[in-house]
């Protein structure tokens, strides 16, 4: 069955969600991935939205933002930001998805300032809830386009902490958890070794290791058990097509 790159990314992201988990799902790819996960291997997962919504079943109807009326109708809970994000800090949230303008070798993400905050070249929108999710979720899954200027050796500004300077630096900062996967349009990277450096873990069908390394801004190393990303199964694609009625991601 044919599938688009974005569909592969969605399915790969869905596989990061386990059954009965509490997940910060966000918008766009992650919310679709959450829908696929619920329809396949994670029927008891719960989705949280920082504006103040918890849902079991994903919304029916087009969402432009997480607070659009279809996401309120039939929600498990409509409440405030503190009640939802407090669960993160309380240690109840298993996984969170975020995007970003830049990610570095140690999984730190920048969505704030290109060029450092003192005299930035570009002012990006900022953290939103991303810093909180990156700090407090048990596992972080980042979703990015795989371009050399986005996957960089070191970000200018750590909006959302990954493994910081490697070694024990994340733990020393008072944090547990950390990035578990970076799902891109070419590959999946995962942390490895004492520094939790991002290694190439899985190559998407149709892509090569050389091409991926060429589009990565650091000397990308390979996981011992590196493999190819399994293409979406018939069941996964069927679930995705139920969620993505209009074929937006096709």
């Amino acid at each position: 069955m044919p599938f688009s790159t974005q569909e592969l990314m969605i399915v790969a992201a869905a596989r990061e969600i386990r059954d009965e988990e509490i997940v910060f799902v966000g918008m766009r790819l992650p919310i679709t991935a959450y829908g696929v996960a619920r329809l396949t291997h994670a029927p008891n997962a719960v989705g949280l939205f920082e504006c103040g919504i918890a849902r079991y079943v994903p919304a029916e109807g087009m969402l432009y933002t997480m607070a659009d009326p279809p996401n309120q109708l039939g929600a498990a809970w409509t409440t405030g930001l503190i009640q939802i994000m407090g669960q993160l800090q309380r240690g109840r949230v298993d996984a969170g998805f975020i995007g970003g303008a830049e990610i570095d070798r140690l999984g730190n993400i920048n969505t704030s300032y290109i060029g450092g905050f003192a005299d930035p070249r570009v002012k990006l929108p900022g953290s939103g809830g991303a810093a909180d999710i990156a700090a407090m979720a048990k596992r972080l899954i980042a979703i990015m386009n795989h371009e050399r200027h986005r996957l960089v050796e070191k970000v200018d500004y750590v909006t959302s902490p990954g493994y910081l300077d490697g070694g024990t630096s994340r733990r020393d900062a008072g944090l547990s958890g950390g990035p578990a996967a970076v799902v891109t349009d070419r590959a999946i990277l995962r942390p490895h070794g004492p520094d939790n450096e991002l290694y190439l873990a899985s190559v998407h069908p149709g892509h090569s290791i050389d091409e991926i390394r060429e589009h990565t801004g650091w000397d990308l190393k390979l996981m011992p058990d590196i493999g190819e990303t399994p293409p979406p199964t018939t069941r996964e694609l069927a679930a995705l097509h139920i969620i993505d009625k209009d074929g937006f991601w096709r």
Binding site: G80, L81, G174
Partner: protein
């Protein structure tokens, strides 16, 4: 109960002052009081500090109109389009004036307003540990948790007490009592923290409607300074049960705010050249009517009978 119903123009004139810190909405993506944004721009309020977890096009418009000195928030842009062009122009090029950004995460801003709401000297948290937000915003303090046996860094967040919170709700009575439903972000914290509250109600109802369900009240009417009856005050943002999101309008704004000249033309067309929100609604015409939610998905009643 005191009658607090006044026109929006009067509420902004009397209760928003140059230099005020201002919460505009606070439920993140929905219920943004754009009608008040327009009025603030028309009345040329200056040097405002906009306090917001998510600062959508509402902030971008006020920045472009030169009303804003500071953004205290976690995210500022255009949810439909990504970057906020006026925000970037102001921050990167000082146009039409430079602005200062006080970086927060959503949760740290929530904790700051929560501390303000309940009179706490500060909020202690962990959520932005490891983030450079702690470097770029000197308001926070990092310290050790005195209750922890091992060394454990924590973050102290000072309280925020906004001068004004401007909040949109589905229905209110003329005395300031109101019902809000759908996600509420930091609306309750903002109302309880703020010195003054301006309430924009999509509908003004009899006091008995609100009193029929005191559990649907997000903040009490006695803390409300002024109530304004402004249908679709949230346009182009959505309001649960009332208005869908006008995504095309956000996109148009994003496109037309890309250049400074085009933005000023947009501002003339949609804000400065429009006397008030009734005229804005009339100008939208069918486009607005098409956004009105016509369906009916009522909540099952709660019984408050005492006997």
């Amino acid at each position: 109960m005191k009658d607090r119903l006044i026109p929006l123009g009067e509420a902004i004139a009397e209760h928003v002052r140059h230099g005020d810190s201002l919460v505009m909405g606070a439920s993140l993506e929905p219920d943004i009081p754009f009608a008040a944004t327009h009025e603030i721009i028309r009345q040329a309020k200056r040097d405002l500090d906009i306090v917001a977890p998510i600062s959508d096009a509402s902030s971008d418009m006020m920045i472009g109109a030169g009303c804003v000195a500071q953004i205290t928030g976690a995210w500022c842009g255009n949810v439909s389009g990504g970057l906020g062009h006026n925000y970037r122009r102001a921050f990167e090029h000082g146009m039409p004036r430079s602005i200062k950004v006080n970086d927060h995460s959503n949760f740290s801003l929530g904790m700051a307003l929560m501390a303000g709401a309940h009179g706490m000297p500060y909020a202690a948290m962990r959520s932005i540990l490891g983030s450079d937000i702690l470097r770029s915003n000197p308001a926070f303090r990092i310290t050790e948790n005195p209750f922890s046996a091992e060394a454990e860094p924590i973050v102290l967040v000072p309280p925020l007490i906004p001068d004004v919170a401007i909040l949109s709700v589905q229905r209110a009575d003329r005395y300031g009592n109101s019902h809000h439903w759908g996600n509420c972000g930091l609306m309750q914290e903002a109302a309880l923290a703020a010195q003054r509250v301006i309430l924009l109600a999509d509908e003004i109802v009899d006091a008995a409607v609100i009193a029929s369900d005191p559990g649907r009240v997000l903040f009490p009417g006695y803390l409300v300074t002024a109530v304004c009856h402004v249908p679709a005050a949230c346009h182009p943002s959505p309001m649960t049960g009332c208005w869908r999101r006008d995504n095309a309008f956000f996109h148009d704004y994003h496109r037309q705010s890309r250049g400074r000249e085009d933005f000023l033309a947009w501002l003339d067309e949609w804000v400065l050249g429009v006397p008030d929100h009734a005229a804005y609604r009339a100008k939208l015409g069918q486009q607005l009517d098409d956004l009105r939610i016509m369906g009916d998905a009522p909540s099952v009643a709660a019984n408050y009978a005492a006997e």
